[in-house]
Amino acid sequence: MEPQMNQQLADLHQMWRIRILEETILQLRLAGDVVGSVHLENGQEAVAVGACRMLRRPDAVFSTYRGHGWALARGVPPEKILAELLYRQTGVNGGRGGSAHFSAPEYGFYGENSIVGAGAPIAVGAALAARFDGSGRVALTVFGDGAMNQGGVTEAMNLAAALDLPVVFVCENNKYSELTPINDMVRNPDLSARAHALGIPAVRLDGNDPAQVAAAVGLAITTAEHGRGPTFIEAFTRRITGHYIGDAQTYRPAGELEADEKDEPLARLRHLPGFDEAERRARAEIAAATERALAAPLTDPSTAREHLYV
């Protein structure tokens, strides 16, 4: 196989891993093993996969509540993610983070955030640290289209631009903020224009194509490495599940979801020879991880008071 083909298969496999992880989480949630708020990223896997394959060891990812796949793509073992959602001792945070707020710094995953937009300034801080700690770290923060309207995101982008900090701002434009279309909430649907206006190089691309995302993130890393600061990437994608579990998606125009399902990153690759094999491997891996996660003991409630302060 050519290298490009290899890469495509590798991406495919990663995307399958995320998809099956998310499907597994959905099943666990419906079965009541996982409780509470869960946000899946089905359909959006290509952004995480394209971006994370370009990241290096010291790089730091800051995602939103929709972050299981980002963690997985960053290298967090699925068992540790599942155990986290199942509140097991073996979870990345022993269940304190849960689906929407876990972190795994040992894998360069500095955590989800359940306050819309709040991860962006924190990523800027991680980039600021890089200026002084010799790590060569680039900080990548991902947020949604709706998050662009949270003032702190603009503040974060401006601060990164003013200080030339190595940040990659990835906006996953999936057209909706919860149940509301982004285009009803902005006048100018080109969200990347806001980054441009702050002096940040910005690109809009097909977020269902991991190669495009990877290319842009690669360029962003180079830009950052050369001391030229932040980059903004608006990646168009669609979630093919509800915003939360139980979201009936009645706000979708007729036919939209069907079209999105045809265009989602895995559907696009159905023709690839390794498609089924990638799925099988991913299923086996996640199934085994699920079994182990379920078998692990729940975190001991007597530890609940620990770690508030040093």
Binding site: V34, V35, G36, S37, Y65, Y87, G94, G95, R96, G97, G98, S99, A100, H101, N113, S114, I115, V116, G117, A118, G146, A147, N149, Q150, G151, G152, S177, E178, L179, T180, D184, M185, V186, Y244, T250, Y251, L298, T299, P301, S302, T303, A304, R305, L308
Partner: protein, 323 residues
């Protein structure tokens, strides 16, 4: 014209909002996902359809939303703005504390901000630390803001109306675990009460329990299971707080227990205890507070249970204080 309807807690709020929109043409209702989608908890369902442009969706911009409420209120509108989770107030707390709260006072009464902020708070199984806080104490330290916390459907209906009709900024803190509960008979259409007052949920002689928010169900269960003879005062309005009612009860019972879901240190329970003891009323035993431990709230249900007050904790406190 007063009549009754069988409504859930969420349904009662919906009915109250509908009545506000219907009878007060200066009301506006906005927030994230409140209009076309009808709210992420369905509380505002149907209102956009019924009341048109006065009900609208906003970007995820709490500062702009709250600021817009302040400005519209200054101009004589009566905005009702939803902050989806109390935790999200904090990205825009300036607009509540430094802006809304100052409008009347600093202008020497030439301006006012008759706005209502609806939000909901508290822990529910699996919610993360950023979606679990009970933040009423932060608001209760801010002069210029009124705060209510209804739990029963009737109160949710009545308080929503009183809040919207009031000419000052009012924060109504709801609780999402209650929205879709059992239906109850709710008197609708009656006169709009002024803000303030409490509800006596149990009457008794041996201890005064002051509480607010969804945890009242644990308090009631604890009172019932221990058989302690308790006055249970639900402070549905926390500002204005009905200090007199509490003092009158404590004068009789000689004992005070305050229960809230928020963490103890700096919670409003301290204020209730302080007011009671400052009054000089003589107590038969030391007052007590039950609240969450001073901790962040973990997502894991079994850990959250160890942090949040449980019926058993309340029961133990009741027995101890009266024993």
């Amino acid at each position: 014209m007063s009549e009754t309807a069988k409504l859930t807690y969420g349904g009662a709020i919906n009915a109250a909002l509908a009545r506000c929109l219907d009878q007060m043409p200066e009301t506006l209702l906005f927030g994230e996902d409140v209009a076309l989608p009808g709210g992420v908890f369905g509380v505002t369902r149907g209102l956009r359809k019924a009341y048109g442009e006065r009900v609208f969706d906003t970007p995820i911009s709490e500062t702009a939303m709250l600021g817009a409420a302040v400005g519209a209120a200054m101009m004589g509108r009566r905005p009702i703005v939803e902050i989806m989770w109390a935790d999200f107030m904090l990205v825009a707390f300036d607009q509540i504390v430094n802006q809304a709260a100052n409008v009347r006072y600093v202008s020497e009464g030439r301006l006012s901000a008759p706005m209502t902020i609806r939000t909901q708070q508290g822990n529910a199984p699996g919610a993360c630390a950023q979606h679990s806080q009970n933040l009423e104490a932060l608001l209760l330290h801010v002069p210029g803001i009124r705060v209510a916390m209804p739990v029963q459907a009737q109160d949710a209906y009545d308080i929503t109306l009183s809040a919207v009709a009031n000419d000052d900024p009012v924060v109504v803190i709801e609780n999402r675990t209650l929205y879709a509960g059992a239906k109850a008979e709710v008197q609708i259409g009656g006169p709009v009460a002024p803000i303030g007052g409490h509800r006596l949920r149990r009457a008794g002689d041996d201890v005064t329990v002051v509480t607010w928010g969804a945890i009242i169900s644990s308090v009631e269960a604890a009172v019932d299971s221990t058989g302690v003879s308790a006055d249970v005062i639900e402070a549905v309005w926390l500002n204005p707080f009905d200090t007199e009612a509490v003092l009158a009860s404590v004068r009789r019972t000689g004992r005070l227990l305050v229960v809230h879901e928020a963490n103890l240190t700096g919670g409003f329970g301290a204020e209730v205890v302080a007011r009671v003891v400052e009054s000089g009323v003589s107590l038969r035993s030391a007052p007590r507070r039950v609240g969450a431990l001073d901790s962040r709230i973990p997502a894991a249900v079994q850990l959250a249970q160890a942090v949040l007050p449980q019926t058993s904790t309340v029961a133990a406190a009741l027995v101890e204080i009266t024993g």
